[in-house]
Symmetry: D2
């Protein structure tokens, strides 16, 4: 410790866009009772990281922030009283640090890394022993870092309320992080899958991951009608609803009786508490009744669910699709790329 | 049979309001294989009956209709092959005739009496053997006739997806049929209950049925804030959402983490496919995510659920609140009263 | 009808073994209101059929019996009032005729074809309209006839109480009907599967159907220890318990925390109410507590589950493994073969 | 701290009966990061405590042990990093310290106080912050101390797998701790309850707590037949199975279709791994199938469930039945009384 008393960390002293992002040097501490010190090796970015940096993230959190929620690394030091871990273990952070199992509480909801609480985009991070899970051997740090937020959200959608059954049908809106993991999980689980996108290239990538049906919503703007055609008028059992306000009506038009619309994003209303507050949605109360369906908000998931999911990923050797890996010093470029490029798959920052 | 070859029946040759309602004489038939002939003794009305007569009911059905979904009577004749029943049994119609258990199907959804299919507001009706359930001894025909639609909807809300637990909190919007039954069920089930109304008199009646907390939304127009105060900021676990579009935002503001908003009505948007189509709601996709909650459409329930519910009603000797009983010849008056009066409890038509 | 007033049917005037089985000629009737007449094309046999013929089946039923529960055929005539079907539809019988959805009742439990009620092993059978389901196009009559009892039992085990998730582990005892279907379903559902058998040849067939791990219990008589080794000491999440009394202790030794032991058979105690009544089992009350697990009886399944299952089978083009097809006149030989041979897969009787 | 460097604690240097129990003086420590120091005010005893002291407890744990699992007290000191608590908070220990929510794991199963890990029967105990829950204001320390093991076990039985519904029927074997709490919970939840006992006096106490039906199994040794009579042949939906091996057959005879037998005790086989190992039970695999029911082991419950349960207890002001309170110096007498007396309700040790 004496030889390396400080370490590098990304930092947002204010949330005014990607230019706010700086690298700072901070003192390195030792883990206390029940804690572990982790050498971070890779961090992946989510759309959430971008809107946090831009200041439009609609949930509470500190003004000045270390960003980054999805990180993987190696345990370098073990605090007193920790029995689950040993130095050298490869670990992955659980996005909602205090959501260990069961339901979210008001307190645990506010323990999301890199937003509600300080994040891990730096060389080191100190976690409570239960804030981490073991990385399966088959995954690299870069790959593992892609999973905590997006993959777990998809898993929670498909298994967190009414579990997906083999033979059911799952619709994925687009090919972003949650949708792509949702496709991989649904495919492994024996579901029929439908992917929508405006890009033939992205649809081809979805096909390669096992998508059963593809819908280009440029050529089929009424994609719900196409879903109904593909499902003989039955609709789909699960929809990963990424768009939010502006796609919700079509999700209602594409859902099966007793189906679930999992609201995980609000891309079409990125600032719902700001200027978009006047942006209204369809009459969801009537539509839920009319379609006899379920609309559900999904906020990532628990440590227990993350472990369940990793067991499934390992059994199927599911690997995340990585679009591009940036170096730690290129963090700002990684944010820009995430926001501006038409990427498929995850954007990762490798930490030296 | 020879001595009574016809019987009286209410009829809506066209759906242009309560004045369209006529009484007609129709031939009496015998039950076929698997059917039973029931002498109807009492029929209760629902808000649905009113909007069906007015022609604004937003679901499909025949143009000319015998109205009435909620009827109780005595089996008068048994068709060949029927083993469950005997002449003289007291029976109650299941609202969704073909919804026997499990999930609704597209076909069973279209088997709702007096709307999607012909109704039972008359002296006789022929049912399939599984279209009825036994009436517990402690209930009169008038009382039993109140249960099929409203009480079963409340039961399905509270037990159909995530079952209510003793000690949870349930909010009932108003004191209409579903809300009042919801109050009685939730009270029997050991839940803490909150009732909203604009009338102190109705709130007093709710108190008498066991309501824990009362909110007059004239004095507390922001009733969600009052709910949060009463629940120490936790919100309620179940909301019976009767209002629809115009109350949904407050339901989101009053719901607990992982709570359920059961959409069973659309009173504030009585014609959602007509001129009200431009009436929009809050951004439900974002709000479901923000509140980590579930919005769910509830369409009455199955025969299995009706039997479960009657077992509970019998164990607690729950009796429906009847506001007023009309004679069969006063059916039109009963509709007018239902629509125009500020009643509490059910409006019943007694069939001679 | 006039040209073919009788048809052939297998019959057990008394239950004293396979020699009791005769073919008789009976009059052909027309379907009544709500019924359909089906030309049976294929019937598959189950172990249950054998013990019924032998008179050791431990459940109630008529003394003289038409055997056969699992039949597929073509609708030849439609009774009045039937809207779901048309002449020529390819249909499959639901094993428990009155179990339409939801829970079994005391009445529906007694509606099992060819045991509790008369069976369908003949050229024709009259069903209630809801006693059948549609056969997916990709299946032949022989193949379809294999599914009602064994496949649905496996489906109910894996999805009927705590639904199987992708990535969980399922153990199949042996390679009989239920076990083999359980393997095919679990494999389609993305589970890790373990199959036990005393035959390397049968294990090889299980491997071909996708089994992840194989255990020969001749070489590993303590197969539970081998299961623990294969699962890193965690045990398996679901066990299809076919053996009963004499395998239950090892199932307890192989189950994961919160795992499910699905009791579907009693092969090691084929006459539990007869001379085997003194045959006792392990202290299940203590073992369930000690292993924190669930032991559950599974009795086939509902029509709703059969439809769910067929949707899954169709999506994965799952075909039953047929060991051998006998002609209708060879029915007694088929029974002998079922009981005496070391077959893998189903024994089918083709009806001309 | 300087003025009181030691505190008193009960201790079992060896497990050879209640005479092994001694009081020792041990040094008092301060809570570390994430911990809290609690001044214990009351501890209640369970049957488990008695068999632990006798050395027949069939689960693993340290040879020398501080006993006691169910304790309530006041937070006296807060470790660094603890945000949930403040000095002076009234708290109750969670029996399975590391079972926070969701499923048990192999590690959390081994964190049961006073058996698998060291217990709290002393003046002070240091807990992890999440090892405790808040005591509702209406409960005294003595009352609160009665709840962690027995009440939570009953709650987990009734709500942990298939949630109890109002109107269902619950059978409680006897009037011990878990059974009495089960009665109070089931009564609050609107269930019909049946209590068995060999004592009219105890049955009268059960009646006072709301029991619907009472069965004296001295006068009705075939109590299952009496249950069937009381339930019109339907059986009960939930059985709290306390007896184990020797009562299990009757539980199977008294259970409803799809009912649950919750195995929480083994009173009739107190040493199942010792000389009782040859004691066998009924053929549970066949009986589960024959009765189409669920047998389930229940091991106390999680912190999340304890909080749910306390919310219910508070809403209904449920108070535990306390049989007798002993002083801290009378701990051995309390054990003797628990084991030898025919008490109803809990035995509590008050800590000065």
């Amino acid at each position: 410790m004496a030889t390396n008393p400080t370490f590098k960390q990304c930092y947002l002293p204010e949330k005014k866009g990607f230019d706010s992002l700086v690298v700072r040097e901070v003192p390195k501490a030792s883990p206390k009772f029940g804690q572990i010190l982790v050498r971070i090796k890779a961090v992946s970015l989510n759309w959430r990281d971008a809107i946090i940096a831009k200041g439009t993230y609609p949930f509470p959190g500190p003004d000045a922030l270390v960003p980054g929620s999805d990180g993987a690394g190696i345990i370098e030091e073990i605090g007193e009283g920790v029995t689950e871990w040993k130095v050298g273990d490869r670990v992955l952070a659980n996005f909602t640090q205090d959501h260990l199992a069961g339901r979210l509480t008001k307190a645990s909801l506010l323990s999301q890394l890199g937003g509600e609480i300080q994040g891990l985009l730096g060389e080191y991070f100190i976690f409570p022993a239960l804030g981490m899970v073991r990385i399966p051997d088959y995954l690299s740090f870069e790959e593992a870092s892609c999973l905590p937020c997006a993959a777990l959200t998809a898993w929670n959608a498909l298994y967190g309320l009414v579990p997906l059954r083999a033979g059911q049908t799952v619709l994925l809106q687009g090919t972003g992080g949650v949708a792509t993991f949702g496709l991989q999980i649904a495919h492994a689980a024996g579901a029929t899958t439908i992917v929508t996108s405006s890009s033939e290239e992205k649809l081809a990538k979805a096909r390669a991951l096992g998508a059963t049906h593809l819908i280009n919503y440029r050529t089929h703007p009424d994609w719900a009608a196409e879903v109904m055609r593909l499902t003989q008028g039955n609709g789909v059992d699960h929809i990963i609803e990424v768009g939010g306000t502006l796609t919700l009506q079509q999700s209602f038009d594409a859902i099966a009786l007793h189906g679930l619309i999992h609201c995980i994003g609000h891309i079409t209303n990125p600032d719902p508490l700001g200027k978009g507050k006047e942006l209204r949605g369809p009459d969801a109360a009537f539509l839920a009744l009319d379609r006899v369906c379920i609309v559900r908000g999904v906020v990532v998931g628990s440590r227990e669910q993350l472990q369940e999911m990793l067991a499934c990923f390992e059994a199927h050797a599911i690997r995340p699709v990585i679009d591009r890996v940036f170096g730690f010093e290129q963090a700002r470029m990684a944010y820009e790329y995430l926001w501006n490029s038409s990427h498929t798959g995850k954007v990762v920052i490798s930490v030296p």
